[in-house]
């Protein structure tokens, strides 16, 4: 029985370490002010609790007086839950019912409440049918077919094709919708014609980069149009004369590939001396080739030489290199006249490394089909992130061969095959094979490798992960899995956790769209915006890299600042001329998330602070105990207008409506404690001349005397570490947490805390958890 009560209390009264399965001792528990009395020993939980026996009578008698009929209280009706199947259609709601009951919020004070035994029966039903019993292996859940989001897609395209980080893949894509605060939630990642259209365009552009189709072409330049050096003169008929040694013409041309090119020129000479005139082709003073021009003016000739050029723009000089001049009469003067130049190529290209990786064979040597097969065996396995079947490869080879059969060049056909891969559902979705039964089963090794690498890197598995998966050494071993987490966190790609996980969890991404009133806050420049964003990211990064406890996010012993931010905070920290961010010891009023300008500005309106938003942020994002939605047809609290005084005074005056007060008395005090910080996070000691009152208490009753005190309470709140686990699991799985995940969240939290409680411990235990490593068939029988 201990477990039943514990699991509820651990969320309801926000007590975490109480969730041990064997002990009913709850060290952090504060008895709710008007919660139900403790269960009596005489109360025996039913062996097979049912909705009809254990839940419905309680609901009917104690809840439905208010929550039923045409205008139920709080617009919350329980009318439709008349059977177990109807009730289980909405499991999360029952968890909330239980939480409100356990917290002593429902039924409201003054109304009759169920006795302990009745509550116990209800909770036994809840455990049996909704949350699951943690002693029994919990349902690991299932993740819907997951479309790669914008970031994952861009990283996957680059990784597959060997494109550099600088290659822009995804800026043409619309940003993804979010669920549960993250843009990697599978259910929300819909496919749409717009996306398919853009995937096609992106694929088309990307293959041009890596498998260029190189058909030789001509670039023609008239000599008269070229830039001249020295005395190059128009001598009629489109010819330009080079008189002296070193006279040259400059031509700038783009060369599509590292390859040979034929340089051709039409010219004649005015002969003198023993030799014919010669033209040299130079780049940066080095001669790449030369031609001899024996033709005379009456019949100019065309001459060519072959040079090797790297891809890109090049400027060549065509210069007369063997002048001959004899001033004594009869004067002998050798000159050369040039009509035009041509570059013809590329021939015998040296393909880029990316090409050699993608196409490691030569169709002329191995035969076309063998080469195409070799290319797509490798590529399909990488793209689909799993071993491929003969059918997978065979179909791609057929596609490519059909293009070759149409007369297209080999490279063009390879391009089509790659474009098909890049638009295949096997690439665009993270496919996890359906479990044959609805029982929980381990993910296949490659599926686990894929989950892991998109979690930590927002990118597909690398060679080491693939090798482990190929050898089936990933899913079977906790040690191997944990070692991979360490390795992957040491890799620079784990920066994805900062910019994708933390930036969404903590709201840093939203800073880009923040618009504080420029008149009131003229110092909020683009540079400052960038700096406060960096402070949030660098702080998270440091907590992650230095294995600091998760509480260090809220109340660390360091502060990341640069000069601009130090000025914004009014700090005199050394060195004063720093241009980069440095870590310094915490300063008065500074250090940790809740003292950061980023958080403080995010939770403000453009012209003023919003204690409600600050409170909601703390309860929702840091403690995972969000307030319920406001009831309909109730005006939101107006905290400006006719009333005067500090924001706090005005809000309290306006909070006459008891319907609002119920929630706002939980939310607002946290924000009141932070009223020392204005709407862009600068310290203040009054609110527009009105004195500040930063005292108050947390929703569970713990009182605080000011911002530092309140922040200390948040830091020490047992909900904080469990909330970190919840956010990591949500982001890592790409789905919202469900009631059966409660057991896993408890165990992730406990194991992480037991091994030191660092962010790394939380990440590792998330990866080791059941929901991360397993999935069940979709249609789970109840």
């Amino acid at each position: 029985m201990g477990r039943v009560r514990n699991v509820l209390l651990c969320t309801a009264v926000w007590v975490l370490s109480a969730c041990s399965q064997t002990s009913s001792q709850q060290p952090f528990e504060r008895e709710p002010p008007s919660g139900p009395p403790p269960p009596s020993a005489a109360c025996t939980p039913p062996a097979a609790p049912s909705f009809a026996e254990q839940a419905l009578p309680l609901v009917t008698r104690f809840c439905m007086n208010c929550h039923s009929g045409s205008s139920p209280q709080g617009n919350f009706s329980l009318d439709s839950y008349t059977s177990e199947s109807a009730a289980l259609a909405n499991p999360a709601m029952w968890l909330r019912v239980s939480l409100r009951m356990q917290a002593g919020e429902m039924p409201p004070a003054g109304l009759p409440r169920p006795d302990a035994c009745t509550v116990q029966g209800f909770e036994a039903w809840l455990t049996a049918k909704v949350t699951g019993d943690c002693r029994v292996a919990a349902d690991p859940g299932t993740v819907t077919l997951h479309r790669l989001n914008r970031t994952e897609y861009a990283n996957s395209v680059r990784a597959l094709l060997g494109l550099p980080e600088s290659y822009d893949v995804a800026s043409a894509l619309p940003d993804d919708a979010t669920g549960y605060g993250f843009d990697d939630v599978a259910d929300v990642l819909a496919m749409a014609p717009l996306l398919m259209e853009k995937y096609g365009d992106i694929a088309e552009a990307a293959v041009q980069q890596v498998v260029p189709v190189l058909t030789p072409s001509l670039t023609h330049t008239e000599a008269l149009a070229a830039t001249a050096d020295g005395t190059a003169n128009d001598v009629g008929d489109g010819f330009r004369m080079l008189f002296s040694g070193g006279d040259g013409l400059f031509i700038t041309t783009k060369f599509p590939a590292d390859a040979d090119y034929v340089v051709r020129t039409r010219a004649y000479q005015e002969p003198a001396g023993p030799d014919d005139a010669k033209l040299g082709f130079f780049e940066d003073g080095d001669m790449l080739g030369q031609v001899t021009v024996p033709a005379l003016k009456a019949a100019p000739g065309t001459y060519e030489t072959r040079i090797h050029v790297k891809a890109g723009n090049h400027t060549f000089e065509v210069a007369f290199i063997n002048d001959f001049y004899h001033p004594d009469p009869p004067v002998q003067d050798r000159n050369v006249a040039v009509n035009w130049f041509e570059f013809d190529g590329p021939y015998d290209p040296v393909m880029p490394d990316s090409y050699r990786q993608l196409v490691p064979c030569d169709p002329i040597v191995t035969g076309e089909k063998a080469c195409v097969t070799q290319v797509f065996e490798r590529l399909a396995a990488l793209a689909y992130r799993r071993p491929v079947s003969d059918d997978d490869v065979g179909r791609l080879v057929n596609l490519v061969e059909s293009v070759i059969a149409q007369g297209d060049p080999f490279a063009a056909a390879i391009q089509i095959g790659i474009e098909a891969i890049l638009q295949s559902p096997n690439f665009l979705f993270r496919v996890e094979s359906e479990a044959p039964t609805s029982d929980a089963q381990n993910l296949e090794d490659h599926e686990l490798a894929t989950r892991l690498s998109y979690f930590l890197w927002s990118a597909p598995p690398d060679a080491e992960l693939r090798a482990l998966a190929d050898a089936h050494q990933l899913s079977s071993s906790d040690t191997a899995l944990a070692a991979q987490v360490d390795r992957m966190l040491a890799d620079p790609r784990s920066h994805a956790l900062v910019v994708n996980f933390a930036d969404q969890w903590l709201g840093t991404r939203d800073l880009a769209d923040l618009s504080p009133d420029p008149k009131q806050f003229p110092t909020f420049t683009p540079q400052l915006r960038a700096a406060i964003q960096q402070e949030m990211e660098l702080t998270f990064d440091r907590v992650l890299r230095q294995n600091l406890p998760v509480q260090a996010l809220v109340d660390p012993d360091f502060l990341m600042v640069d000069q601009l931010l130090a000025g914004h905070y009014g700090l005199a920290v050394e060195p004063s001329n720093m241009t980069d961010f440095v870590s310094v010891p915490t300063q008065p009023h500074r250090g940790g998330l809740l003292r950061m300008a980023g958080f403080l500005a995010l939770t403000s309106n453009p012209t003023r602070t919003s204690p409600t938003k600050r409170g909601r942020y703390v309860l929702d994002r840091l403690l995972c105990t969000p307030p319920p939605a406001p009831p309909p047809n109730v005006p939101a609290l107006s905290d400006s207008g006719a009333a005067t005084g500090s924001v706090r005074t005005r809000m309290e005056q306006h909070r006459a409506n008891p319907v609002c007060a119920a929630c706002h008395t939980r939310l607002d005090p946290i924000g009141f404690a932070l009223e020392n910080y204005d709407a862009i996070g600068q310290w203040r000691t009054d609110d527009n001349g009105f004195p500040l009152d930063t005292t108050g208490s947390m929703p569970d009753g713990r009182a605080f005397s000011g911002p530092d005190d309140m922040i200390g309470l948040v830091r020490d709140d047992p909900h904080l570490p469990r909330c970190v686990a919840e956010k990591l699991l949500t982001y890592g799985l790409g789905r919202g947490v469900t009631p059966p995940d409660g057991c896993s969240l408890d165990s992730i939290t406990q194991s992480a805390l037991a091994s030191g409680g660092s962010l790394r411990d939380f990440i590792k235990n998330t990866v080791l958890s059941r929901p991360f490593r397993m999935r069940r068939g979709e249609d789970k029988p109840q």
């Binding site: 993804d176 605060g181 014609p193 089509i416 559902p425 979705f429 939203d510 769209d513 207008g641």
Partner: protein, 439 residues
């Protein structure tokens, strides 16, 4: 003619909340049926968030020759083609269970008539939106375009207990497929006016389209094979995929017109909100004018947007201002925001009206619907919806009036009428009880 029947799912989904409308076509006014025969009837849906200061919005008099309200003053040049409707209700029945905030249902129901499923991100759902039902009958290069003034993602606040998907979009391709929106004018321009690529010869284009088509055939086949291995929820995702592949296939093979001349100069990407809105409106006008598409939605800002409007002196956030609590200072600011948006729309109408086709203007052949999902945002009221329609709908509309409906009727009734004008037959639509009388 590409005409795809309504998917079975779409119909089934609507069943729970809707009343069947078997007599729909017969109930249509004669001029609406005439309009069906028109070739170039366009529909544009413009959406503004956070409700409206209704006192400054609602015209004081009803019927023809009504006096424009302060907020609607910018529409004066088009009053003869303006139909202001007061008395529509955007409230949709909330499913039992978890309750959510008041904003997400406003934006999600606006074009669907369906209350969104209360969820932070699993089993999201609303209904197929009216624009998409109309778009399914289109043969233009793009069946529809979805525009937005603000990005789709996490930006800004979303509504309590609701995924951001509900407050950042209004168009739903199916009841479970919300559509992403384009917010970058440069990107939109490329989609609309790049039927050919710069420097591409006709034969190169033929090869490109042929290749694209064989790739799409290949991946459709991939999806079919994959589908056989997956469970039902995953299959639904693959259905979405296959549907998208088919849509692009039609688009790629049918967009063989070089319309670059019609598009003119490409606009730049911009982070300046007023510039972006003006730029997107201009492209939208061109899209209608050049017949790139005949259906569009434009969500001017996300629901719950807290953007300030310094261009009209409002430095407070919009959402914050919309919770005015009766404060006259806040109400004045709200009117300034509301009016700014109407001004931008008026410029759009001017563009449509300046474009002539035959003896009418593009505006005459268009139905421009402009509205907010919330009425008074302070209390999250859903009626009366602030809404006007501009254009003559190719003769299907009888504008120049302020239509006042005494007893509120579902907003979805208007959509049933619009579907009738477009010649789209549906068994039911959201919470509609029938077509809207009197338009």
């Amino acid at each position: 003619m590409i005409r795809r029947p309504l998917s079975r799912r779409t119909v089934l989904r609507g069943m729970g909340t809707a009343i069947a409308l078997p007599l729909l076509e017969a109930m249509l006014p004669r001029r609406a049926r005439a309009a069906q025969a028109m070739r170039k009837l366009r529909f544009v849906f413009l959406y503004v968030p956070n409700g409206i200061n209704m006192a400054d919005w609602t015209p004081k008099t009803a019927g023809a020759g009504f006096a424009l309200s302060p907020t609607l003053k910018p529409l004066a040049p088009f009053q003869d083609r303006l139909l202001v409707i007061t008395g529509l209700d955007n409230k949709t029945p909330e499913p039992p269970g978890l309750s959510g905030g008041g904003h997400a249902p406003a934006s999600s129901a606006f074009l669907t008539g369906v209350h969104p499923v209360v969820t932070g991100g699993s089993n999201i759902g609303a209904g197929t939106s009216v624009d998409q039902l109309i778009a399914q009958t289109n043969t233009t290069m793009l069946p529809s375009v979805e525009l937005g003034g603000e990005p789709t993602g996490t930006r800004g606040e979303c509504d309590i207990n609701y995924s951001c998907v509900y407050t950042t979009g209004i168009a739903w391709r199916t009841p479970t497929s919300p559509l992403p929106k384009e917010i970058d004018p440069a990107q939109l321009f490329n989609r609309m006016f790049a039927g050919t690529r710069p420097g591409e010869t006709i034969s190169q284009r033929v090869v490109r389209v042929r290749d694209r088509k064989s790739v799409l055939d290949f991946v459709a086949d991939d999806a079919a094979r994959l589908s056989a291995q997956l469970g039902s929820a995953d299959k639904r995702k693959l259905d979405e995929f296959m549907d998208s592949v088919r849509a692009v296939e039609i688009q790629v093979t049918s967009s063989n017109v070089d319309n670059r001349a019609c598009g003119g100069a490409a606009p730049a990407s911009t982070n300046d909100y007023p510039t972006r809105v003006a730029s997107l409106y201009k492209l939208l006008g061109l899209a209608m004018q050049c017949d790139v598409t005949r259906v569009a939605t434009f969500m001017l800002a996300n629901e719950v947007s807290n953007r300030p409007y310094p261009q009209v002196g409002v430095t407070d956030g919009h959402h914050d201002t919309s919770h005015h609590g009766g404060d006259p200072v806040k109400l004045k600011k709200l009117t300034a925001i509301n009016t700014w948006h109407v001004q931008q729309a008026a410029a759009f109408l001017r563009q449509l009206d300046a474009a002539k086709e035959g003896d009418a203007s593009v505006l005459d052949n268009t139905v421009v619907v402009y509205g907010a999902g919330l009425s008074d945002g302070d209390m999250h009221n859903y009626e009366p919806v602030a809404l006007w329609i501009a254009g003559r709908g190719a003769g299907a509309l009888n504008p120049g009036r302020h239509l006042v409906i005494d007893k509120p009727v579902p907003l979805a009734n208007l959509h049933v009428s619009l579907l009738g004008m477009a010649g789209v037959k549906v068994a039911s639509f959201g919470n509609a009880t029938g077509p809207l009388a009197g338009i």
